[in-house]
Subunit: 364 residues, 2 copies
């Protein structure tokens, strides 16, 4: 049995994010003995039946939950988003150049990394609006580009693309912070990827899904470890993979399937809608993102209208065993992350606190 | 309490390797609740006191256990050895070229990766002896080389350098499989590194130790994630680090300190010496490495003199709840890995089985 459940903090952090208690329980047991194998999951060989089964089932679940055709390859790689920011241009930035949509901090990081391998073209940006809205998707896209990169959900500013837009060139989507949060058609994407520590488990691995057509597009000589084609050829076991992080992702995928993506989507919509409604109603707070169709359902960003209330509300949450709601160090304010593991009841608890805070601090 | 200790397999695998039961117990508990924080170790923020303490203590323990001066920087990076095989030439292979000592499979992989960034010079090799001995350390080394790379312990062939040799150019040592197994002077090395899944814990992070002088030697533009200087500047928290793998490494480092490097060294010498003695004595087996001063104390490789006995002895071990003794898929035979977590009693148990096997199968 999980211990001290009553003392568990309510973690609205943007990542490493909250993990369901049943997943923690299963991971904890596997550390002692994996599946009655007499070995810890930290000790099982990465070339052998025990790990093959973990890998196969995790890939099968990603395929099923995303309704992916067999044209897509599924990889679990080392490193986080920034290793993908490196590998994408390293592998694919060819003579046609590459385009990026600049929707904020993470998009800008991806652009900066591409600058080491060529000259990325920023073909849309909402920098002028301080990223409080999504950039307008470009009306025309140069068909000779090697690829177009964008970020589906922007954790720091709280914006999110409702759908995956169409593109005449291979579309590469960073879905790190909204992967598996909603039902989506992935068939527009040539590649998408997501770090694990949001909806997929624990930090230490990154899910990469690639259309087979991309494998022939490697634009330069890339050593195997950093080469998507070599990683596909060796089924993510080119070297010792981060076994435990992949196993935790498998546990999260099983949890996701048990709950159902349709229910998860419905819950995520409900969580976001009641929280935005409270922010809009509450006289002490203001949402960062105005346009309802640009608001993220994963990361809800808001600020105190009176700056003096920022620290007070932050302290009030801490006193109430809530953690992780401070905004990103670059922007301040508050950010409530509503990843799949967060329940409607937990959001209601926060709303009750916001109302209690208003009662205590509003000027009559 | 750890469960099913009696059923724990005796794991002589080369990595992911055996982990002490007390470390597994602590890791398992931290998954449920880290240090009474109300958060799982999988959920703690990577920018904050909880993780800072893990990082600081782990670095302090590496510094202490290796008796490193403050001239060395300590990093915990994503990925495994092959990411280091990429990053080393990416960062340091300059106009002077780089030299490699070819002592077998892993050295050859490192050489192949360097080939993506220049023309590595192989200045010593024991390929002619099928790597059953160490190459002769070169009598003269070109002082204009950017660096010289070698592998301290060769898991597949069972050879090991007793000391870190001297070099007039920056010496980079892959210590993946014998890190912290013995008391060593590290001051000859400009850099050394070790993947975690041997003596350092679980797969998913790599320890890198760099002399400060190396940071000024970056030979080309390398994006921050793959750039040692940027990783040092951000104290291994350039992005979300593999928190759990680093925490498990900390638990292993604490265990190593409690036991003491001097005792670990003595035990490792004892384990290796009784096992080699049995192989040399036993009429059915033969050691792969003849020269006593080239024999690895970490990975003891041997074969059955009669090939028919290979499968029989392998099955006999499996029946006796022993796992991981099959040789690497590229060479066959047997390989018994004697990493720090393996006890003298466990080696004695294997020796008893080897003797019982001899009694049953020797021709009178």
């Amino acid at each position: 049995m999980i211990k001290r459940s009553e003392d568990r903090k309510l973690n609205f952090g943007a990542g490493p994010a909250s993990i369901p208690e049943e997943v923690l329980q299963e991971a904890s047991e596997a550390i002692l003995d994996y599946n009655a194998s007499g070995l810890s999951v930290l000790e099982i060989p990465h070339r052998g039946k025990l790990f093959d089964n973990i890998l196969d089932e995790s890939k099968q679940l990603v395929r099923e939950l995303c309704a992916l055709s067999s044209d897509y390859e599924i990889l679990w790689l080392h490193g986080g988003g920034r290793l993908q920011f490196s590998m994408i241009p390293m592998n694919f930035l060819g003579a046609g150049g590459a385009a990026y949509i600049d929707s904020g901090h993470w998009a800008q990081e991806a652009i900066a990394y591409a600058g080491y391998y060529g000259e990325p073209k920023v073909i849309a940006s909402s920098a002028g609006e301080r990223y409080a809205s999504l950039p307008e998707w470009p009306a025309s896209i140069d068909p000779s580009l090697s690829y177009l990169h964008f970020t589906t959900n922007n954790t720091i500013y709280g914006t999110q693309w409702p759908d995956i837009p169409l593109s005449p060139v291979p579309l590469i989507a960073d879905m790190s912070s909204d992967m598996l949060s909603t039902q989506r058609s992935y068939s527009n994407s040539a590649m998408f990827y997501a770090v694990a520590q949001k909806n997929l488990g624990a930090a230490g691995t990154t899910l990469v899904v690639l259309h087979k057509d991309m494998l022939a597009r490697t634009a330069r000589r890339v050593p195997p470890m950093l080469n998507y084609e070599a990683q596909v050829r060796t089924n993510s076991v080119l070297n010792t993979p981060p076994v435990f992080a992949i196993y935790t992702a498998l546990l999260m995928l099983r949890w996701t399937k048990r709950k159902g993506i349709d229910i998860i989507q419905k819950d995520n919509e409900k969580k976001a809608s009641i929280l935005y409604a409270e922010i809009d109603r509450n006289s002490l707070f203001a949402a960062v993102v105005d346009r309802p169709d640009h608001r993220s359902k994963m990361n809800v960003c808001f600020r105190a209208k009176n700056p003096e209330n920022e620290q007070l509300f932050s302290d009030f949450c801490t006193q109430n065993n809530i953690t992780g709601i401070d905004g990103h160090r670059t922007v301040g304010g508050f950010r409530v992350s509503l990843y799949n593991a967060i329940t409607i009841q937990q959001v209601e608890r926060l709303i009750t606190l916001m109302q209690a805070f208003e009662d205590d601090h509003k000027k009559d």
